[in-house]
Amino acid sequence: MGVNADYLGEIITVETEPGVALQATVGYQDHTPLDRLLVVFPPHPSLGGDSANNVVAALFRQAVARPVLAMTFDYRGVREGRVGETSLLAYWDRLEESRDFRPIVQDAVAVIRRVRDSFNPDAALWFAAYSFGNLVALQAAREVAVRGFAGISPPVFEYDIAPLLTGVPLPIFWIAPQDAFCPAGALDGLGTGRLCVREFPSEDHFFRGSEEALAGRVLEGLFGEATEERPADEARVSANRAVCSGPAAPGVGGTDV
């Protein structure tokens, strides 16, 4: 991901295992508080997903503008096109066949910890994930404490995310009703814990042309209005089971499932 001129950014390289190095892009402004860190998880590399994805880039940019310390990264092999001697696509095909994404989750956790330690080891973590990134983020949330979670269009027909939902306090999911990967109703009754589902008007999974509006709503749902620090959303929602955390947007439905 490129770093814009209107904010500070840096690249942090983390070797997660011998021969595997990931690069995190971290963005902030001069006055950005360091008490929280938003991690943005990209979609699937086999489908062209990377940290430059339109939804990921919009989330990252807008988080930095709020200002929230934000980071994103690419999964292993994305920058190089290979993992060791194996082509990126062949490597990820093997992961898909095994359905064992532990190396990817461990990479993510290592990168997140390194970035957080570089800025403030006590910073609270907030996750925002798009598509396949939900799977990685929900698994990573079992290894690091997460204060808030926003998931956009989790591909629930491809992956079983239900068992992972207990790892985050009150996940907020944003879906496009016509999304073939996660249509309206797909999250109803998922898992045993509570989750909040919001619909965002978009014609499909990709939010082309509406990514900036989506990112604004997602961040508003996580953090409230710009620069406003909110109390723990989960406590507030526990007191009122009918209300999803954060303000509802015009034209955006909210369902407490």
Binding site: P45, L47, G48, N53, T86, S87, L89, A90, F206, R208
Partner: protein
């Protein structure tokens, strides 16, 4: 003025048929189509084990996925000046049918176009 699309499919791409589009990748079988919206042309392609094994013009699309594109954008993409993903996200192309397969094909083809760009329709299959 762009060269006819048959220059690409019949000559440039033909030189890359029956061998892996990407070194070391043999993991995908798919039948797909490229529909030139501005020309009303369809080219149907057959991918087996990561190799293009068939390509032919047709009056109708065939396969699980169809990429819709106008000729100028097509030449940008196959010339390596724009990635298929970037064109899709900018709404310069559309994917009809199986979106999951379409995005995966776009990724594979994008890497191929990057490595083997076709400039100005010239019949040159040399690696960049």
């Amino acid at each position: 003025m762009h060269p006819p699309t048959s220059d690409y499919f019949g000559h440039f791409l033909a030189e890359h048929m029956n061998r892996p589009l990407l070194d070391g990748y043999t993991g995908l079988d798919a039948d797909f189509c490229i529909h030139f919206r501005d020309l009303g042309e369809h080219w149907n392609l057959r991918l087996r084990a990561g190799q293009i094994v068939g390509v032919a013009p047709d009056s109708a699309p065939r396969g699980a996925v169809c990429f819709e594109v106008d000729q100028p954008v097509f030449w940008e993409i196959v010339g390596g000046q724009a990635s298929p993903q970037a064109a899709f996200f900018a709404r310069r192309t559309e994917i009809r049918g199986d979106l999951f397969l379409g995005m995966k094909l776009a990724r594979i083809l994008g890497l191929f176009f990057e490595r083997f760009p076709c400039k100005d329709g010239i019949r040159d299959g040399r690696e960049r």
